[in-house]
């Protein structure tokens, strides 16, 4: 209102002085100001209708405390360039109460898709939701703002940095293929014997491993785990219960410690199969390299808190949100939430 008020005051002053001194140039100025006032109001409404913005990707990955590039697509359906629309972005972690709001100014030419990049430096690992909340367009003279509410969202999966826990395998027997293994895998509760060897197809699985008959029957692709693969991996069950009061900084430590443990375990096996419960569903994911680690964390970030108390699983290791790392009944390490990063950097964990 201030700008319109100032403008109207200016028009009134111009009008008054033009009349009092009968100055033709001021009259021209006055008529131009009045004309522009009307045109700018129309242009503002026009921009509101013709400018659109959206995230071209639903999900993108970034690393904690690093600049993560996110893209935003601006598109003008009309025939006029939009000078400087203001885009309001809301950023928040899932467990965060307050949303961080940032405002940026864009611009778009007519008939062109303009992709702009902005950089987010997230302080914590975890799922960071970025929401385009509002597009505020102005006319060329910034007199008439026109708001348009948006609910476009994208997820920035902020991965913990690839810090690796130093793990010393105390009594791991040598395995075929040079790998070592300490104990035989224990049958998993909650998964049928047939399903224990089968899993849904993931990109990267060899065609040899696809269970064609079952896939044809169920109309989904299933992969078979071969015995030698089973021999070359650890299993880790995650307990994600009791997370209601966890804040982003707590989750950050959890993800940091989990990532370090996974990377540390991968030093000793080709893969780590992680089991956890997503709401009412049981999930498992094999982590073997950077790509699968990225995908694992994304799936983990998308998971809902487990309903009720999950059934106990018999896996090589277990890790919970209280940062307790166990192997069977034995505690490998209880991380200190305030000092976990130092522990990861300095401590050698014996399994």
């Amino acid at each position: 209102m201030t700008r319109q008020g100032t403008w109207l005051l200016l028009v009134a002053l111009t009008w008054y002085l033009a009349g009092m001194f009968r100055t033709l140039s001021l009259t021209v100025l006055l008529l131009s100001e009045l004309g522009l006032l009307v045109i700018m109001a129309m242009i503002s409404a026009y921009f509101r209708a013709t400018l659109d913005a959206a995230f071209p990707e639903e999900t993108t990955f970034g690393e904690k405390e690093c600049d993560c590039a996110c893209r935003l697509r601006l598109e003008v359906h009309g025939r006029l360039p939009v000078g400087r629309p203001r885009l309001t972005l809301g950023l928040c972690y899932r467990a965060q109460r307050r949303r961080s709001t940032q405002r940026f100014y864009g611009g778009a030419e007519p008939g062109r898709v303009t992709d702009v990049t902005f950089y987010v430096r997230p302080p914590y690992a975890g799922p960071l939701s970025i929401e385009l909340r509002q597009i505020l367009t102005w006319d060329y003279l910034f007199l008439f703002p026109a708001k348009r509410r948006k609910r476009e969202q994208m997820l920035l999966a902020v991965l913990p940095p690839p810090r690796e826990a130093r793990i010393h395998a105390r009594s791991l027997p040598a395995m075929s293929g040079g790998q070592a293994r300490e104990t035989a895998p224990v049958p998993l509760y909650g998964i049928s014997p047939e399903a224990r060897d089968l899993r849904e197809y993931r990109p990267g699985d060899s065609a040899r491993s696809i269970h064609w008959k079952l896939s044809a029957r169920t109309d989904r692709l299933w992969s078979r785990d071969y015995e030698d693969e089973k021999e070359e991996r650890f299993t880790l069950s995650l307990n994600l219960s009791d997370t209601a009061r966890m804040r982003p900084e707590h989750w950050d430590v959890f993800y940091e410690a989990l990532s370090a443990v996974l990377l540390g375990l991968l030093r000793h096996r080709r893969a780590v199969r992680v089991f956890w419960r997503d709401g009412e569903k049981d999930l498992q994911w094999d982590v073997s390299d950077a790509q699968s680690r990225q995908a694992f964390f994304l799936r983990l970030y998308l998971s809902e808190p487990p309903d009720g108390t999950p059934e106990p699983r018999l896996t090589d290791f277990a890790f919970d949100t209280k940062l307790l790392w166990t192997r069977g009944a034995e505690t490998v390490w209880q991380f200190d939430s305030a000092d976990a990063l130092r522990e990861i950097a300095e401590q050698t964990f014996v399994i």
Binding site: W15, G19, R22, T27, S32, V116, Y124, Y140
Partner: protein
């Protein structure tokens, strides 16, 4: 656990784009808009000053294209040089600036000129530096916008009337720069790093310019044709405010008297000021004088009482010449002469007409000012027909038509002596004019020497009719202008105060004693009978009113100003010089030969009195221009004339724009050209560069020769281009886009390579005329 931290978001934008040519154009328009409106009397070369500003602008802009740091350094260097110039030339500069201040703020004397070359040059440099720094280095449009706005809005206060072309330039600068700056030309951490920010900025500026052009195309004719109508809302608003304030403060009941010349508009409220009761209805307007002006000054007219006292003292000293008398006797004699002069003409009237008795009651009953009719005496006793509630003086007076002074009657010797001596002594003080304040008016009278009173009156009427029109809302007089000069020679609009002042000064310049008088005018139609009063809001009880009495209620609408000239034999006589509603002026004073007046006015090509309220045009206006500008106000016509005179200065602009448009079209056509066109273009540009002039592109060794002549092209590329062009010309099918793109790219590389080999003239033609690069 990590401590609580913020999510940092940024756009990664680091560098600012170099300024576009549009920025230079807008910068120039802003500076030129301020340098164009020069005041009369400031002697400096506008083209030279503008050339200096343009050169500096172009230099700074070019440096900014190279790099912003260089631009900052260059600006600082220029600022340092500017400061040094100011210090070194301070003596001359201070003289020029002091002269300009005197010219703009204190006076507006005709012929007073100030040499302003140095100051204008320094002001131009200062403006360029300020605008360049604000717009391009800091990225703020506020200061330049405010400066241009202030010059345009406040200029008229000191009589600067910016031309339409200056207004167009200022608008272009103000709004287009606003839009372009708004599109994020300058670096800002909150602006996304757009892939083509410069293009977007230019596009925004172009759209805004186009919008402004459309608005101006509509606004200029509308302003020229309807300027008076457009001003009316401003007057209505000001009138409403002033009437409201005066009613609330009670000043609306204050009598209109005094010699202050209003420099603004007049907004009467309709509040009752005087109630007149006459024993019969007058046949001509009755002038009730409350003030007579002596000397003319900046604020208007001084009260004449001191002049009058001096005149009577001089007359007393004439009478006492050779006598040895005390000062007290002289004072007594002065008072006696004054007393005798007061009713002199009433006493000496020998006409057959009956006197009129008139009671003048002030509306709020506490006025100390007396409003007295001409040729009157004060009646001490209350008259029978006066309502008992009424208060105020009662006068007996003769109407001018009933006046017939008999100087041969017995006892008239003393009165004649008084009349004659008064005339002798009033000649000097009442023909005094501050000529230095009124150079144009003095010149006008000097160039038209006249002696006969009727001829002088005719000339004054002609001048007023030809140069001015009546309006209660003539606008403001600039602070540094004389009100009468501005009214008569610039604005051409005014009301009774302005007409009367101008006429008074003109009478004085011709040597006729004249005074500016203010008071009220009661026209015959203002008087109503008892029955008429019953229907009005007259406050008295009609039952107590005498039969046949006439009443008039005068409000500030009846407040008036007129000229009174001293006619020997008739004394101070009112002369009406304010036009009536139909534009005609009907002066009347004893001895005025109306036939002669009409004849003189006819000779001066003016209708008198005008039958339709419109003036006949003069010969000078019988032109094509006059017919084109029919319906426009005088100021609008003058502005159009000025704009037409300045048109040649702006002719290069469309030429340059057309040139740039042609180049742009060529470039966009080449950007879509197929390989055959690109091949032809390549041949054409090599020939222009003086290479391969003997080739037509079909020679077997053409690729090798092309490669040798143009360093940026390999022989393989040249051979591929030839093959593609041949296939396009003689082949069966269409050309793939990839081949066309290759040809265009090769052409671009060749242009870049050839451009460096050309001399300056050929470079210009290569780039701007042929649009090869």
């Amino acid at each position: 656990m990590s401590r609580k931290a913020r999510i940092i978001v940024h756009t990664g934008r680091e560098a600012s784009e170099p300024p576009a040519p549009a920025h230079l154009l807008l910068l120039l328009s802003g500076v030129c808009a301020l340098l164009l409106p020069s005041a009369d009397g400031l002697a400096y070369s506008v083209p030279r000053t503008i050339l200096l500003a343009v050169s500096l602008c172009v230099c700074l802009w070019s440096v900014a294209r190279i790099g912003w740091r260089w631009a900052v350094l260059c600006s600082m260097l220029c600022a340092a040089l500017w400061c040094a110039a100011c210090v070194l030339l301070q003596d001359e500069l201070s003289v020029q600036l002091a002269g300009a201040v005197r010219l703009l703020l204190l006076t507006h004397e005709d012929g007073y000129t100030v040499q302003f070359d140095l100051a204008a040059a320094l002001i131009a440099v200062f403006l360029v530096l300020l605008f360049f720094s604000s717009e391009l280095l800091i990225g703020s449009h506020v200061i330049p916008y405010s400066i241009t706005l202030a010059v345009f809005l406040l200029g008229p206060l000191i009589g600067l009337q910016p031309s339409i072309e200056a207004a167009v330039l200022a608008l272009l600068f103000q709004f287009c720069y606003w839009a372009m700056n708004g599109s994020g030309m300058r670096q800002s951490p909150f602006d996304f790093a757009l892939p083509s920010r410069a293009r977007l900025t230019a596009l925004t500026g172009a759209v805004m310019s186009l919008t402004l052009a459309v608005v101006l195309l509509l606004a200029v004719p509308l302003a020229l044709r309807n300027d008076e109508r457009l001003y009316q809302p401003a007057y209505a608003a000001e009138g409403f405010l002033r009437r409201t304030v005066s009613r609330l403060s009670g000043s609306d009941a204050t009598p209109v008297t005094g010699g202050n010349l209003n420099r603004g508009n007049q907004y009467p409220t309709g509040t009752t000021h005087l109630i007149l009761t006459a024993d019969r209805r007058p046949t001509a307007p009755v002038y009730l004088r409350g003030f007579s002006g002596g000397d003319y000054g900046y604020r208007g007219w001084d009260w004449s009482i001191e002049t009058e006292v001096q005149i009577f003292r001089d007359m007393a000293s004439d009478r006492l010449t050779g006598w040895e008398t005390a000062a007290s006797e002289a004072e007594l004699l002065t008072a006696n002469i004054y007393k005798q002069f007061d009713g002199l003409y009433w006493r000496r009237n020998s006409g057959s007409g009956e006197r009129i008795r008139l009671a003048v009651q002030n509306g709020n009953r506490d006025f100390l000012d007396a409003y007295r009719p001409y040729y009157s005496v004060w009646n001490a006793e209350r008259l029978r027909f006066i309502n008992r509630y009424m208060d105020g003086p009662v006068y007996s007076f003769y109407e001018q038509s009933d006046l017939s002074i008999d100087w041969d009657a017995p006892g008239a010797v003393t009165d004649l002596w008084i009349e004659t001596h008064y005339y002798q002594h009033c000649l000097e003080p009442y023909t005094r004019v501050p000529v230095e304040r009124l150079p144009r008016l003095a010149k006008l009278c000097r160039e038209n020497p006249l002696t006969d009173t009727d001829e002088i009156t005719a000339f004054i009427l002609h001048t007023l009719q030809s140069r001015a029109s009546y309006s209660l809302t003539p606008g403001w007089t600039p602070f540094n202008r004389d009100t009468v000069e501005y009214f008569l020679f610039d604005n051409g609009l005014g009301y009774c105060q302005h007409f009367a002042s101008a006429a008074t000064l003109m009478y004085r310049l011709y040597g006729i004693p004249a005074r500016y008088a203010t008071g009220y005018i009661a026209r015959p139609e203002d008087f109503l009978s008892v029955q008429g009063m019953l229907d009005s809001s007259y406050p008295a009880d009609p039952m107590e009113l005498a039969e046949g009495a006439q009443f008039a209620i005068l409000s500030d609408f009846s407040a008036h100003a007129w000229v009174e000239i001293f006619l020997p034999g008739y004394g101070w006589t009112p002369v009406e010089v304010t036009p009536a509603a139909d534009g005609s002026i009907m002066p009347n004073y004893p001895g005025l030969n109306l036939d002669l007046l009409a004849q003189r006015l006819a000779e001066l090509k003016f209708s008198f009195p005008a039958s339709d309220g419109r003036r006949a045009p003069g010969n000078a206006e019988q032109s094509l221009f006059a017919s084109m500008t029919t319906g426009m106000s005088r100021k609008a016509r003058k502005t159009v004339l000025d704009a037409l005179k300045a048109l040649p200065l702006f002719l290069p602009v469309p030429v340059v724009l057309a040139f740039l448009y042609r180049r742009r079209r060529k470039l966009s056509r080449y950007a879509r050209a197929d390989c055959r066109v690109s091949f032809g273009r390549l041949l054409s540009m090599t020939r222009f560069a003086g290479l391969l002039t003997d080739c037509d592109g079909q020679e077997a060794d053409f690729p090798a020769r092309l490669s040798a002549a143009v360093p940026g092209i390999s022989e393989a590329d040249a051979a591929r281009l030839c093959r593609t062009a041949e296939a396009a010309a003689y082949g069966p099918g269409g050309i793939p886009d990839e081949a066309n793109g290759f040809a265009r790219e090769l052409c671009r590389r060749a242009a870049e390579s050839l451009y460096g080999k050309l001399n300056l003239r050929k470079r210009f033609l290569f780039r701007w005329w042929h649009a090869y690069a």
